[in-house]
């Protein structure tokens, strides 16, 4: 065991110093109390869409789907809802008018009773939007008893199913139970995810993760932007924090990569030494190319790289005095370039292009490798393909770290995408308003998630003397 004792200063998104002389160890996910709390909040935060469940039960429109009919010969003769082109497409099933929203107060009290393990164990139920929504936070004791993160969602969904069956036994009979289950759980267990469910967790079902440790990377960029109310650097910090925790879980922050990964998190995500802010301030009215120059200039000033040799034509090669720090500088430069270029367009779609060409130009400017030692270029090019052109895909907002083209970046790509989406003025079809309104309304209320830079700096200051 060796602590990372080198000192950094943490700045907010206005370029003002928050805490200075923080050892690098104090911001790592294993030590920082605020980061741990963020992880815990993501693990335990559940939203129950009571109005959604009530609508499902009253219309028969369960899990965003009507029940589709198979293609049978006498389909046209059946007394069922017509689909497009006059052909019957779907059938509505049994419906009940269950007054869930009217009884929100009673339901909340009884739900709390069901979820509580001990009296005053920290179980929280907040009624939101005049009873249309619950914000549920089961106790740590309940959520940490098992070893996975799904207990919060499953216990809440099961508790709601039980509760509604009990509470409205005069309306709902024995045969209604599977449909009440569907109203809360969604199409699970027919699908492996909780598709169309009205009990919503920020984290996807564990079987939807690409591999070990991907839980916190499986979170749409739009959600993060909505939570932080489109504040660019706060969004980037939250995204970077999730990536940092995920990389710990993935086994990427061990040995010689521990400092490497922590530096990326500090400089790109937490604006350490005001690097990102300074670069954006210097090149705000400029181009991606200006950020390339400014980043290399800053690295030379801070003695991260030095001149190595000059070719006969006068071209200079540089060499890294501190390779891990150089990587962190390039990662910070990448996000600054995205803020400058995508900020100018107020459109997110060019993020992959900026990531690719910024990194490529840095490499060809210095002869040193770029972010992630080539990953910046590779991720940029593959994400360009998957967010444009013949491969379709989606706008950058629907990307997440659990994606075939973004999963290879070691923590630096998704924060850049988040920054771009935060700066978008409304050009995307699937923007944060379209996909994440609900998430923003509920989780944006939590200050810890909305303003992570401040929370993490405060947490780091509390423990800085330990290292």
């Amino acid at each position: 065991m060796a602590y990372l004792t080198e000192k950094i200063d943490l700045y907010n998104d206005r370029g003002q110093v928050l805490e200075s002389g923080i050892p690098l160890e104090a911001i790592t996910p294993v030590q920082n109390p605020a980061v741990k709390e963020i992880a815990d909040t993501f693990k335990r935060s559940i939203a129950v869409n009571l109005a959604g469940a009530q609508k499902a039960l009253s219309t028969g429109h369960y899990a965003n789907e009507y029940i589709h009919l198979p293609d049978i010969p006498n389909k046209a003769d059946l007394p069922i809802k017509s689909g497009p082109y006059g052909k019957p497409k779907a059938v509505r099933t049994r419906t009940w008018d269950v007054p869930l929203v009217e009884n929100a107060d009673t339901l909340a009290a009884k739900l709390k009773e069901k979820l509580q393990v001990d009296a005053d164990d920290g179980t929280e139920i907040n009624i939101m939007k005049k009873g249309a929504m619950f914000y549920v936070k089961p106790s740590q004791k309940l959520c940490n008893a098992g070893i996975e993160y799904t207990a919060a969602l499953t216990t809440t969904a099961q508790a709601m199913t039980d509760l509604v069956m009990e509470e409205f036994s005069d309306i709902l009979d024995f045969h209604a139970a599977p449909l009440v289950h569907t109203a809360f759980y969604g199409r699970y267990p027919s699908t492996y995810e909780f598709m169309g469910g009205n009990v919503i967790s920020l984290l996807a079902a564990s079987c939807a993760n690409e591999g070990p440790g991907f839980a916190l990377r499986n979170l749409m960029v739009n959600h993060i932007v909505a939570i932080t109310h489109s504040r660019t650097m706060q969004a980037m910090a939250l995204s970077s924090t999730l990536e940092a925790i995920a990389h710990l879980e993935m086994g990427d922050t061990i040995g010689r990569w521990r400092r490497w990964q922590s530096l990326v998190y500090a400089y790109q995500g937490l604006n350490a030494n005001n690097l990102v802010y300074d670069l954006v301030k210097e090149c705000g009215s400029g181009t991606t190319g200006d950020v390339v120059g400014a980043t290399i200039n800053r690295a030379l000033e801070d003695k991260v790289i030095k001149e190595l040799k000059t070719l006969p034509s006068g071209f200079k090669f540089y060499t890294a005095l501190d390779p891990s720090l150089w990587n962190a500088y390039v990662c910070a430069g990448t996000s600054a370039a995205v803020i400058v270029n995508q900020g100018a367009a107020r459109a997110a779609q060019g993020v992959a292009s900026t990531v690719l060409y910024f990194n490529d130009m840095v490499e060809h400017e210095t002869g040193l490798p770029s972010a992630g030692y080539g990953d910046g270029v590779a991720n940029g090019i593959s994400m360009s393909f998957f967010s444009h052109s013949i491969y379709g895909g989606g706008s950058p907002g629907v990307f997440h770290g659990n994606h075939i083209v973004t999963r290879h970046s070691k923590g630096f790509l998704i924060p850049c995408v988040t920054a771009a989406v935060a700066l978008d003025a409304g050009t995307a079809v699937y923007g944060p308003e379209a996909t994440s309104g609900l998430v923003g309304d509920i989780f944006g209320e939590i200050k810890l998630l909305r303003e992570p830079i401040e929370s993490i700096a405060k947490g780091a200051a509390e423990i800085k003397n330990k290292f």
Binding site: D13, R14, S230, R231, T232, M233, R256, Y277, V280, G284, S285, G286, T287, T288, G289, V292, G293, I296, L300, L311, P312, S313, G314, F315, F317, T319, A320, L321, P323, S324, N327, I339, N341, Q342, G343, A344, A345, R346, A347, Q349, G350, S353, Y357, F358, M361, E363, H364, E365, G367, L368, P369, Y373, G374, F385, H388, A419, L423, A425, G426, T427
Partner: protein, 282 residues
């Protein structure tokens, strides 16, 4: 300490020097022609002359942006301020001594233009920007020295086949035949999407083949100076472009070793840099 000055590209050979010149935004690109507004818009094919810009959201002043220090530091472009739609422009380049190459375009644009999305794919360079910003950038791409009328074309679709051959008089092949030669001049008879346009647009005369070779930004075995002058095949083409190859190989090597161990991108990790022999202990 003196401020770092960008190098853009090595200057080891004539092609590299041509590339460096295009990439450096401090070099003012020589303006070769002026295309009238009406002609330019009809080639581009997005809106008619005199038609208003389409918008995707209300102007930023009406929309009201959320409080964010980054938005204060980065002013939006004119197109973004007005809420223009994001439009596309696709350029394609011949491999026969064209003054700019596809991938080089992306670098050039990122050095010279704000607020863009660009990518290279299958011999074409796509640029997506807010409509009025795109028109400004498009003018630079069609009117200055980076465009030779015979070898660089605006093609919004069906670029395929461009690099394989040249038509009559050195005109780049086009499956949709958007351009044709009128004497020595090149005329666009269809817009970028391949739809015929009412008034064909004459965009002038290309430079001579000798001049094109001088301006070329493409490494070809037949245009490295010694080969052209001596008219023999050089047995060691790498020697001519030694700086470029040395530079690219170094980057590739560092990407490979860096991902194995970050410390390996330090030069002192090597016993012998040319042969890439690592010291013991690494």
């Amino acid at each position: 300490m003196a401020k770092f000055e960008r190098q853009y590209y090595n200057k080891g050979d004539p092609i590299a020097r041509n590339r460096q010149r295009i990439l450096d935004p401090n070099t003012k690109l020589e303006k070769l022609r002026t295309i009238p507004d009406e002609g330019f818009l009809s080639i581009l094919g997005h809106r008619n002359f005199g038609e208003a810009y389409k918008s995707v959201h209300p102007p930023l002043s009406e929309l009201g942006e959320p409080e964010d220090p980054m938005r204060d530091l980065v002013p939006p472009t004119e197109g973004a301020k007005a809420g223009d739609t994001v439009d596309t422009l696709v350029m394609t380049d011949s491999v026969y001594d064209s003054p700019i190459a596809v991938y080089l375009r992306a670098w050039m644009l990122h050095n010279r233009v704000r607020g863009l999305d660009t990518g290279c794919y299958s011999g074409r360079n796509t640029i997506e920007m807010r409509a009025r910003d795109l028109e400004d950038a498009g003018r630079m791409l069609l009117e200055t020295e980076v465009c030779d009328v015979r070898r660089n074309h605006l093609r919004q679709m069906t670029c395929t086949g461009h690099s394989c051959r040249l038509d009559q008089n050195g005109l780049m092949f086009d499956a949709v035949q958007r351009t044709k030669m009128d004497g020595t001049d090149v005329v666009y008879v269809k817009n970028g999407f391949g739809n015929p346009i009412d008034k064909p647009v004459n965009i002038g005369k290309g430079v001579s083949d000798e001049e094109l070779k001088k301006r070329s930004s493409i490494y070809r075995y037949d245009n490295i100076p010694n080969l052209v002058l001596e008219d023999v095949v050089n047995p060691k083409p790498d020697e001519e472009v030694k700086e470029t190859t040395q530079w690219i190989r170094r980057i590739m090597r560092q990407r490979l070793y860096g991902n194995l161990n970050p410390e390996l991108i330090k030069e002192d990790a090597y016993e012998n840099l040319e042969q890439l022999e690592l010291k013991k202990g690494y």
